[in-house]
């Protein structure tokens, strides 16, 4: 998957876990927490959805990489390189 496709995957996951949020104006550099009121349960869901969809394992010490869209995509590039969208 390329960067754009990974971003699309994250958008899809975000709309599943926070269906009442309007994601159209989401800024890639601003923490999700500030834009969407995500809490730790929601971050666990991002991790779990990635595991469910692409069998990606994300250890707890890496959850910090998932704070913004930009950092999440960056973090996932090597992990999703061989995955197909």
């Amino acid at each position: 998957m390329n960067t754009d496709q990974i971003r699309q995957v994250i958008m899809k996951i975000l709309s599943r876990i926070a269906p009442d949020n309007d994601l159209t104006g989401l800024k890639d550099e601003v923490p999700f927490r500030e834009q969407m009121e995500l809490d730790s349960m929601d971050f666990l869901d991002i991790v779990m959805e990635l595991r469910k969809l692409y069998r990606v394992q994300i250890p707890e010490e890496d959850y910090g990489f998932l704070s913004t869209m930009a950092s999440t995509v960056q973090y996932l590039i090597p992990k999703l390189q061989t995955a197909t969208a």
Binding site: R16, P19, E37, D39, M41, M48, R51, K52, Q57, E60
Partner: protein, 463 residues
Amino acid sequence: MYDTIIIGAGLSGLAAGIRLAYYERPVCIVEKHTTIGGLNSFYRLRKRDHDVGLHAVTNYAKPGTKTGPLSKLLRQLRLRWEDFDLTPQCGSSVAFPGVTLRFTNEFALFEQQVAEHFPSQIDGFRRLVAQIQQHDELNLANRESSAREIVSRAITDPLLVDMIFCPLMFYGSPTAHDMDFTQFVIMFKAIFLEGFARPHEGVRLIMRKVVQQYRKFGGELRLRSGVKRILSNNGKVSGVELESGETLEAKHVVSSAGSAETMRLCDIAPPEQEPYQPGAISFVETIFSLDCMPLDLGHNETIIFYNDNERFVYDAPAEPIDLRSGIICSPNNFQYATPLDEGRVRITALANPNYWMNLPQDEYIAEKDAWTKRIVESALRFMPDFRSHVIDTDAFTPRTITKFTSHLNGAVYGAPHKIRTGTTHLENLFLCGTDQGFLGIIGSMLSGITIANLHLLKAPSSN
């Protein structure tokens, strides 16, 4: 071999089950009773549908709200706001000798009522509310502390203190006289800051949506499958043995049966010492079907929490029922688009579990009838006389609650000491539900979610 077996198809077990099933864990819920629901179940009697545990769903939030327990749990369970059809209350009150405080789902009214009736206390009240808002009640590391001590630092009039505690205790205190401050905060937010709502259809709708979601994600549910023993060796659970003698293997077991109840299933003699003491606070609930709507009699309140003793006493009474205080609930008095088919009034009062547990069957029926009459008489001090309109009556006691949910003493809010982290002496046995500490309809679902997330989903799946 299951990834997880969950004991109990109440709201906490089903919520935990939804989380695990959604993430493709092989999961099975085993329920002793013939139907789902546990403390929040339903029944049919003389062609009428009744709810067991639902006066009102607490923690109301308007559809689309992004924070708070209700929105959190809908997201976690992948449910939509419409699914629970939550209709806000009309208005409720706390009625004490000489003072009545009204409240709705708009907190400003309650604050204004306090200012009006207790002008000298309003600054302290506002400080208390600020403290409550800052307290993170979902933090599992919170230590137990006395809510009465903390509240009394802000509010010096014991009448107001009692009036604040009354609804919070009635709707969620496993302990007599005082509450753990975290539990107090949970209930204060749930009742005063968030408020009450109800689905038009009652409990059945909530239970149906939850169990459908569980099945849709592939969860397995076995009714009439009481667990006789939790099997373990060397500090690890290996599965459960059912009452039928069948054994089921699992990598993890989550129990919503209660902490003392679960320990008994582990072949551990119920320890006399804390933290596994069962609770002892229970209620008698009376349900009246009317030939008119409560509103026709001038009764428009959703819930009235009443007390006419000088101090409000929350404890298992020495007599069979404590007639000094209680809860009057009318399921009709919510802002529905169409009215319910029939008028109903439910009156609940504190009961002595031992008394009701030990009565011989023939006396039990007669005593239930006699005390139902007394409960009504005592409630009539706070509402219009509806007795000539009653067309059907039912009542249930601590004994009924134990019979259908297996909770010792018919304890509605479980053990006095909660095991918030949900861990036990066995490394892969966890507790969820009432004795984990989040209780009530919304709370118990949040409990199941929290325990599933913390102990089962965060750990990488080994399959």
